[in-house]
Subunit: 349 residues, 2 copies
DNA sequence: CTGAAAGCGCTTACAG
DNA sequence: CTGAAAGCGCTTACAG
């Protein structure tokens, strides 16, 4: 491998000068620069980033922790994050917890070994908040609260829930089934994300006197399970006339409805939550609440930038500084909130 | 940051000894080891991987170049690759060309700067084979030929095409429409992947005297375009009774068919090629040719391992060694071929 | 403007 | 079995 030393020798200058030329920093006379550039070309010199990384203690890499990108929701999130990071000269390391036996801790470990500069945490975690705050390296959470000092970004699920409820009430729904994650996760302080829109819908259905049941979908990792879930809904609630769930659940529910000869939207309305491409592939154009993935990714990247800058600035107090900023202007639940939108489709009345 | 030096001082030993303990290499007496481990705990020592990387000139990171993981095909491929790499203690860097203005060359550059140990190339490229062979670093191609010495893995598209043709002939299809990439890419020596199954189907349709037209789908990056493509098929070929295309195209074709009141499969058969989750979300269970993503990922990772090992072994002749091996046993077209399977569904007769 | 030197944090021959 | 030394390839004060 040809290094700076070889270039310096070839050009008859010192290694420092070569470095200055390569980086375009400091002042170098024109003929020096010319000599160095000639030598670099001659030897096909390519700088080795690893040495820089060591010196700077930086990799310019961010780990994105998701359950799996097999699920369109996380594929979409990850794709948008990668785009945002690329814009900021940051690389994206794919960290999926579905395969990793150790879950996310393996990736946290990598963060501490300086294999990456920060982590976006978008997977479920069993750890308590103090675990996350004790890491003292850049972490930004998506759609979950990991504790004080860990900034977080999420969609405005309350509004999402309200949009859905309004649609259902306005169209005269009588028996709504909500599909979501394990109900045990609905406790106060859960890091589970979709809770908020479900609770909002349930409350508004209760207020409007509309029946509303909840069905637990299989793990986000297991796509096949959603098919069984869809069938189970119709078995358990034969008079269901509205189903609300993630894109994948909604698509499978529609497929199952057609199979059973239930006409949509006349006798059954379906609303998808998330608004990824998955919703567009279904049998009909699904009505949906769409999360603003571009906006979410931009906010996450912005927070990450701040975390990294804070770490570089002062080793002490870096965390608390960003924590203050994030909390500012928000109500009880901290974190930055990104608006959602309702997209009409062929599956609502 | 606490480093080995601090640990050594705390334990009253040399840095070398600490290194031996940390790595578990060489012989260290039990009490030395105990002292060092105590000191590591005491100081919360965590090794800095960057220094190791520099010494070893390795990052244990593989770049996976795809157009975009927004498309389920590449999301699926990438997810499976990540799993395979994780198994081998390799990290996966997400490299999507859709956003990168410079296309894949940015990532090739990173490879040369040793920011990663190798690249899986699964995106379209305009570069000529000599570009790829001149890189002299570990590269493995998916579903395309990048030139001598660049190993490649692909599905058995010829068999995929034969399976489709057999189904169409057996069910009495009369007018088939194939949807695929730009026809200009069908020239000899193209790196475009799906060509093979299309050509096989076309040949077999011609032999059987069945009408067969070809429609160009929008870019793989642009999902919305597929919707327009689906509509265009019915406009242009009102008597079409079979459509073959990627999962996404097939799903959109089915949606459009329902919208037009065309009954599937009675009057229109639809066969999806790829077999990702996207195919399962459609209005009906799509019949499909499924690519074996797990098998593909395993083969790619295996080839990558060999490339990396070859590079470490000898700087000279590393490429040629693997090239020989890859070509061995294959016919005209080099590369490792992974079987596909036909999955029956609700969209064929 | 240019060069010699120290250093990023670790690993690995090489002496003892 | 343990330590002093050189080195991975680069960057950055610091003298000149």
């Amino acid at each position: 491998m040809v290094g700076m030393r070889d270039v310096a020798k070839e050009a008859g200058v010192s290694v420092s000068t070569v470095s200055l030329v390569v980086n375009g920093t400091g002042y170098v006379s024109d003929d020096m620069r010319a000599k160095v550039e000639a030598a670099m070309h001659e030897l096909h010199y390519i700088p080795n980033e690893l040495a820089r990384n060591l010196y700077r203690n930086r990799t310019n890499t961010i780990g994105v922790i998701v359950p799996t990108i097999l699920h369109p929701f996380f594929a979409t999130l990850t794709a948008h994050l990668q785009r945002e990071f690329a814009r900021r000269d940051l690389k994206t390391l794919l960290c999926s917890t579905a395969d990793a036996a150790t879950g996310e801790s393996e990736y946290v470990n990598m963060l501490q070994r300086h294999m990456m500069d920060g982590i976006i945490m978008a997977a479920h975690t069993e750890h308590q908040p103090d675990y996350w705050t004790s890491i003292h390296r850049p972490i930004v959470a998506f759609d979950r609260i990991l504790g004080e000092g860990v900034p977080s970004v999420r969609s405005d699920h309350e509004t999402g829930g309200r949009m859905i409820a309004r649609q259902l009430i306005g169209s005269g729904a009588r028996h709504v089934v909500l599909v979501g994650g394990p109900r045990s996760q609905f406790a106060e302080g859960t890091t589970f994300p979709t809770v908020r829109y479900h609770l909002t819908v349930e409350r508004m259905m209760a207020d409007a006197g509309i029946a509303c049941d909840y069905v637990e979908a299989g793990s986000v990792t297991d796509v096949v399970a959603h098919e069984a879930t869809a069938a189970a809904i119709f078995e358990r609630y034969p008079d269901v006339d509205a189903i609300v769930g993630s894109d994948v659940v909604a698509a499978m529910a529609l497929q199952e409805a057609e199979r059973r000869g239930i006409s949509v939207p006349a006798n059954l309305q379906i609303i998808a939550y998330d608004g990824t491409m998955a919703a567009e592939l279904a049998g009909k154009r699904l009505a949906m609440v769409r999360q603003d993935f571009a906006g979410i990714a931009a906010a996450l990247a912005e927070q990450m930038d701040q975390q990294i800058e804070a770490e570089n600035g002062s080793n002490h107090g870096a965390q608390s500084k960003s924590a203050e900023q994030v909390d500012a202007g928000e109500s009880a639940q901290p974190g930055q909130v990104v608006p959602v939108s309702f997209i009409a489709g062929e599956t609502t009345r």
